[in-house]
C-alpha cells in the first residue's frame, strides 16, 4: 500500500518532520492483530509555495537523510523491520513513466503559483471594472499585492484560488497516474492559516472529481480512501514590530478556524458529503507559545517542534491501520460517512512525558523511541571504543573506516543532530515534552521518569557494555547480513534493545 501524504503549509512540514522521527525509530502501521502491515510505502508531497520556509527545508533535509540511510540498510525493499523500516519515497521515485518531467524532490513544484503576485496570478489588471470591484471586495489590498513565494500569509481565500491550479501540474498528473487500487491518501494541514486551510479541500475536491482529468487510474482516485489531519490553533504569534502589519493576527485564528470547519463540514466531512473517509482533529488552544511574527517575509519561519505535531504524526499510522471496510462500503467502494477522531492526553499537563500518553500511544511510540534514543547514545559514546572487538569483528566487519562512510556520517551527524534538535524543541516549547532527560548520556537515567528494574545488587545496569554483550551474542553464527555492515549494526542493536528494554527497565508501555 502506498500512502500519499500531502503535507500542506508550515504545519504540514512540521508534522511530517515528527513523522519521519517516528518512522526512523521503527514506528509502523499495524493491522487489527497488531502485526505490522506489509508493503507500506509513504510518498510525502509537500505543498508550500514558501520555499524559503526553514521548517520546510528542515523537513526536506530530513527526508533526504532518511532516504540515504534507509537505502543503505534495505535497498529498495518495501518490507523491513527495525529502525527506518518504513519506506519513504518521493513522487518521482514511484512514478515509473518518464513521460512526465518531475523534480526529484519531495516538494510539489508550484512554479505556476509562487512566481507571481496574487494580483498578477488572477490577471487583475486585465479584468473589467466590475470584476475588479468584485475582486477588491473579496481580497484586501495587501492580499492582492502578496508575493506568493512567501506563501499565502494566512489567507485561505488566496490559497483557494491559487492552489486550484495544482490539478494542471505535472506532479498532480503523475500522482493521478501512479495511484493504484489499494493505495490511500492523507492530508496534513492546519486550519487556521492560509496554505493548509485552503489546500486541503481544494486538493480533495480535485481528487474526488478526477473524472475530469486525464489519468489512467482516475477511477481508483475518485474512490480513494482519504484521511486528513486538521490541526486547529496550537500556537500563537507575537505582535509584529511594525504595529501596522496585521496580515496575520492571532485574534483571527479562532474565527478562521470556525469558518473553515463550517466550510469543511459543508464540503468534506458533513452528512452526505463523505469526501474524506477519516478526519483527525488536533488542537492545543491555551497551551501555546507565541512564535515570532512572520507572514513569510520577516524571518525564516524556524518554529520549534510541538507536542501537537508529534501526536499528529501518529494520525497517518492510525489511518493506515484502519481496514478498508471501516472506510468504504465493501459493496460499492463508496466512502462511508466520515469517521472523526480527536485526541487527548491521559493526563493533561504542561510537563508531558511518556506517562501522560494513553495506552494506545504508549504502545505505538514508547519502545521505538526508547530504542532510537539508546542507539543515539550508543553511537555517540560506545561504538568507537569497541571497533575491533566482539560483534564488530564478525562478518561483515565494522571497521574504523565504517565511521567515515556516508551512511554513518548522515546517521550520526545529520540525522541525530536533527533528532536532538527536535527533542530539545519539544522540551522547551510551552508544552514541555520531556521524553528523555536533556543531555543525559547515561542509559540508566536517560528516559524521563523511567528507571531500571531492581536486581540482586541494586538497580540493574544498562550501559554500552550491556549492549555490546547482547550484540555479541546475537551476532555469533549470524549470517543474515551478507556484506551489509550498516544493516548488521542497526539490526543487532534493534534486537538487543528490545531484550534489554524488556529485561532491565520499568517500562511505561
Amino acid at each position: 500500500m502506498k500512502l500519499f501524504i500531502f503535507a500542506i503549509g508550515g504545519t504540514g512540514s512540521r508534522v511530517l518532520k515528527s513523522m519521519i522521527m517516528l518512522c526512523a525509530a521503527g514506528v509502523r502501521p499495524v493491522d487489527a492483530n497488531g502485526k505490522p502491515l506489509q508493503d507500506v510505502e509513504l510518498v510525502p508531497i509537500i505543498i508550500d509555495p514558501h520555499k524559503s520556509n526553514a521548517d520546510l527545508k528542515r523537513t526536506e533535509r530530513l527526508l533526504s537523510a532518511y532516504g540515504t540511510i534507509r537505502e543503505k540498510l534495505y535497498g529498495k525493499n518495501a518490507n523491513a523491520n527495525g529502525f527506518f523500516a518504513t519506506k519513504i519515497s518521493s513522487l518521482k521515485e514511484v512514478v515509473s513513466s518518464t513521460q512526465v518531467p518531475l523534480d526529484d524532490s519531495f516538494i510539489f513544484n508550484l512554479a505556476a503559483v509562487e512566481n507571481y503576485k496574487f494580483r498578477d496570478f488572477i490577471s487583475y489588471n486585465t479584468m473589467n471594472e466590475p470584476n475588479q470591484a468584485l475582486t477588491s471586495l473579496l481580497f484586501a489590498d495587501y492580499q492582492l499585492e502578496n508575493k506568493m513565494s512567501i506563501g499565502f500569509v494566512g489567507s485561505p481565500n488566496i490559497g483557494s484560488v491559487a492552489l486550484n491550479s495544482i490539478k494542471d501540474s505535472n506532479e498532480f498528473k503523475a500522482f493521478a497516474n501512479v495511484f493504484a487500487d489499494g493505495d490511500r491518501i492523507f492530508f496534513i494541514s492546519s486550519i487556521f492559516g492560509g496554505t493548509g486551510a485552503a489546500g486541503f479541500p481544494i486538493i480533495v475536491k480535485n481528487i474526488r472529481q478526477a473524472k475530469n482529468i486525464d489519468a489512467k487510474n482516475k477511477a481508483f482516485l475518485q474512490k480513494a480512501p482519504i484521511g486528513g489531519l486538521t490541526v486547529l490553533p496550537y500556537f500563537s504569534l507575537m505582535e509584529s514590530d511594525d504595529k501596522q502589519d496585521k496580515r496575520i493576527d492571532n485574534a483571527d485564528f479562532i474565527v478562521k478556524t470556525q469558518s473553515a470547519l463550517e466550510y469543511y463540514n459543508n464540503t468534506l466531512t458533513g452528512n452526505g458529503r463523505n469526501a474524506v473517509n477519516a478526519i483527525f482533529y488536533l488542537g492545543d488552544h491555551g497551551h501555546n507559545s507565541p512564535y515570532a511574527y512572520d507572514p513569510g517575509d520577516k524571518r525564516d519561519q524556524h518554529d520549534p517542534a510541538h507536542l501537537i505535531e508529534m501526536v499528529g504524526a501518529m494520525a497517518p499510522f492510525k489511518f493506515m491501520s484502519m481496514s478498508d471496510s471501516e472506510l468504504s462500503d465493501p459493496a460499492t467502494g463508496e466512502p462511508l460517512p466520515t469517521k472523526a477522531f480527536e485526541y487527548g492526553l491521559e493526563r493533561d499537563t504542561d510537563f508531558v512525558d511518556f506517562s501522560c500518553f494513553g495506552q494506545e500511544t504508549r504502545s505505538m511510540i514508547y519502545r521505538p523511541l526508547v530504542k532510537m534514543h539508546l542507539l543515539y547514545i550508543f553511537l555517540r559514546t560506545g561504538l568507537d571504543g569497541i571497533i575491533g572487538q566482539g560483534f564488530t569483528e564478525d562478518a561483515p566487519k565494522i571497521t574504523r573506516e565504517f565511521t567515515g562512510t556516508q551512511f554513518y556520517r548522515v546517521l550520526t551527524q545529520q540525522f541525530f543532530d536533527s533528532y536532538i534538535e527536535w527533542l530539545t524543541e519539544l522540551l522547551h516549547n510551552r508544552r514541555h515534552v520531556t521524553l528523555f532527560n536533556e543531555g543525559e548520556m547515561d542509559m540508566n537515567k536517560a528516559i524521563h521518569k523511567v528507571l531500571t528494574k531492581k536486581g540482586l545488587f541494586g538497580n540493574k545496569k544498562v550501559d554500552n557494555d550491556v549492549f555490546k554483550a547482547e550484540m555479541n551474542r546475537l551476532s555469533r553464527d549470524n549470517n543474515r547480513y551478507g556484506s551489509n555492515p550498516e544493516l548488521k549494526l542497526m539490526d543487532l542493536f534493534y534486537t538487543a534493545a528490545e531484550k534489554i528494554i524488556t529485561d532491565r527497565y520499568n517500562n511505561l508501555n
Binding site: I386, Q389, G390, E393, D394, A469, N472, R473, R476, D477
Partner: protein, 146 residues
Amino acid sequence: MRDKVIFLIIGAVISVLFWFFSAVLYEAIYYVNGFSQFMYNDGAYGIVALITIAMTWGMAAIYYYLINSVKFDRWYHWLSMLGITCLLTPVVCFFVIDARMDGLDYGTYSFSFVLHNILVAAIMFVIASFSMRWWSSNCRHTPIPQ
C-alpha cells in the same frame, strides 16, 4: 560452523597425542639421568601431561565461557590468563611430582623440569584457546580476530 568443529577436533587430537607421546616429548626437552628414568618408570610424564592438558583447557574454558566478559575481551586479558596458567601449571605439577618422589632427592631437577613445562603449557593454552574460543559470545575474537 564446520571449520570451528575442525579446530576443536584438531586441538583435541593434538592434546591426546601430546599425552600419548608425553614421555618422548618431555625427555626431548629435558633429560637428566636418574630423574628422567624415575619419571619414565613411574609414569609421571603421563600424569604431568594430563595435568598440563587439564590446566590449560580448564583455564581457557574459564576465560572463554565463565569470565566471557566484554570487559575482559582484549588480547592482553587473554595474555594475562596465559600468564596465570603458565604460573599455576608448574606449581601443581611440582607438588604432584614431589608427592610421588617418596624420599628421592630430585627436588632441583623437578623444579627445573616444571620450568621447562611452562613452554609446553603455553603452547597447550594457545591450542586450547583456538580449539574452543569460537563459541564464546564475548571473547571469540580474542586474542586474534577470526
